[in-house]
Amino acid sequence: MPYAVKRTGFYALVVFIVLFSVFPFYYAILTSLKSGTALFRVNYLPVDFSLANYEGVLTNGVFPTNILNSVILAVVVVAISLFLAVTAAYALSRINFAGRGLLLLTILAVSMFPQIAVLAGLFEMVRWAGVYNTLFSLIFAYMIFTLPFTVWVLTTFMRDLPIEIEEAAIVDGASPFTIVMRVFLPLMWPALVTTGLLAFIAAWNEFLFALTFVSNNATRTVPVAIALLSGASEQEIPWGTIMAASVIVTVPLIVLVLIFQRKIISGLTAGGVKG
């Protein structure tokens, strides 16, 4: 009897957690499929099925451009972050220099600043560099939160790679750059995929910087664009369109995670068992 109770309790908990985490998204999908006054009826099963909201958001003005902006931004941020992080990780994990520990701690400290604290200063820098209202300002700003954790994770990972492999490459005549590119990178796929994905998600979802450094509708990224979606009149909040837009921008993340799922899992355990 107690076994059955435990078992039921366990599955009840599982169901609760799944509901809790999936329900908001499920409700967003439901809402996005409704149209007109159906929006204000509350129901939990898909009774309406109208793609009008999707059509609306995709043909409405600059939203497709916003999606493109977000894609470009996230991809560029991930690429630059990973490149810088891999090279930095090599220096931080394999080269002995004075102040290495301090530097690592500083990097970690940077990641702890609340965004709002650096906002004003960053704004000045963005204006000064003349990149206000361009995607460059965001590429630059996003490095502030993507680099610390990519550098940290990759440094830890690289430190665990056997030193003899690097020495064998040195004896083979490889330069540090060749070692990083041809020996370390292939061994670091799991870590690269994991950190790259996290950086992608962070850049994709970022709101505050995107709102502050860009004021032009056509240069906006998706999170800001969605927040600023407006209906026909001032008073109307276009829930249907907002939900359709949200679903559209969530799907790429889910697809990415599913594609790299196995790599992520092996990435999270890769430090434990060395092949």
Binding site: I165, E167, I170, A174
Partner: protein, 369 residues
């Protein structure tokens, strides 16, 4: 064809010096083995030669050229690591070709020829397309050796290449390395091990290291037959040489010695009169001892333990020195009860005399020979 010359080579990590001025001449084409107890600096010395560690002081010359500031590649060395250190994501072929592909001016066909040649020599042709994880330990080590061969180095360095292999494979691979040395005429090889059998069988010359110093350099038989000091005497040979504290009773053309736990022996060693009455050490290898019924046998005691190894039996005897049994290696199977009293003797020429500080005392005659 390259000789090596080390002059006062020192290596320090921070304030800790681990190599204290190593002087060493290695001839071109020679097979030299570094041995010594764990932590004595064998690997460090090898890595200094390789260029993986920079030199704190002194000079290293390869082929007459000072190479202190050159990279491993510029020094023309190749190295085989204890842990194989293969590139896990590359096939056997790519592992062996990697170094060559980095060289400008080595064509694809030339690379292919050299990789296949190395694979043929080491009999790893069937595995060229496999990843290292799909190979056994012995096969991996052969790939690592192959990777070094394709580079066609002037100096070949090995750091305990066999210590991760099981006993049978170790013997087989050791023989392969000996053959490789014959085949690669003119390639200097330096080999680190703490396996005595490897050292004795492979080496043209052995370098015995201790605490960052060279204790003695010589052919295996030189080191075995006439160790320069107590350290070398005890280090080579298994079980190691019995050492008894002794007193020199009379010096001269022959020397009369009284060892602790034994009776007076006359050694055919000439000693200066100044040593008369001085303390010394008497060394006798276990294999030089034989059982004697003679009442005058110099070493007498009771059997503590016997170990039969098949072709020999080790007999541990208590000759009255606390905690330090006296070991004899007797041929064949010898049955002896614990507690049996026996006498042991050795030819006087086989006994070795060391002065108080541990340096060998050799007769003038022997030194000339």
């Amino acid at each position: 064809m390259a000789n090596l010359k080390l002059t006062k080579v020192r290596k320090a990590y921070g304030s800790v010096e681990v190599l204290h001025g190593i002087d060493l001449d290695i001839r071109a084409g020679e097979f030299v083995v570094f041995v010594g107890p764990s932590g004595c600096g064998k690997s460090t010395l090898l890595r200094v030669i390789a260029g993986l560690e920079d030199i704190t002081g002194g000079t290293l010359e390869i082929g007459g050229r000072v190479v202190n500031a050159l990279t491993p590649k510029q020094r023309g060395i190749a190295m085989v690591f204890q842990s194989y250190a293969l590139y896990p994501h590359m096939t056997v072929y790519d592992n062996m070709a990697f170094g060559l592909t980095l060289e400008k001016g080595t064509g694809k066909e030339e690379i292919d020829r050299r990789v296949r040649e190395a694979a043929r020599i080491l009999q790893i042709e069937p595995y060229l397309d496999r990843l290292p994880k799909a190979l056994s330990g012995g096969q991996r080590q052969r790939v690592a050796i192959g990777r070094a061969i394709t580079r066609d180095p002037q100096v070949f360095l090995f750091d305990e290449p066999l210590s991760n292999l099981d006993a049978a494979l170790r013997v087989q691979t050791r023989i392969e390395i000996a053959r490789l040395h014959e085949r690669m005429e003119g390639t200097t090889m330096i080999y680190v091990t703490h396996d005595q059998v490897e050292a004795m069988t492979l080496a043209d010359r052995i370098v015995v290291l201790n605490k960052g110093h060279v204790e003695q350099v010589g052919s295996p038989m030189e080191l075995y037959n006439s160790p320069d000091n107590l350290f070398v005497a005890k280090f080579l040979g298994s079980p190691s040489m019995n050492i008894l504290p002794a007193t020199i009773e009379s010096a001269g053309a022959t020397t009369r010695v009284v060892p602790q736990g034994g009776s007076t022996v006359d050694l055919p060693v000439a000693t200066p009169g100044s040593l008369q009455g001085k303390p010394a050490h008497l060394g006798i290898r276990p294999e030089d001892l034989s059982v004697s019924d003679d009442r005058a046998a110099p070493f007498r005691g009771t059997v503590v333990l016997t170990e039969s190894l098949g072709e020999v039996t080790l007999v541990y005897i208590d000759i009255g020195r606390a905690d330090e049994p006296f070991v004899a290696k007797l041929p064949g199977e010898v049955a002896m009860e614990r507690g049996t009293r026996i006498g042991l003797t050795a030819r006087p020429e086989a006994m070795r005399l060391f002065d108080e500080s541990g340096q060998a005392i050799r007769s003038q005659m022997r030194r000339a020979a």
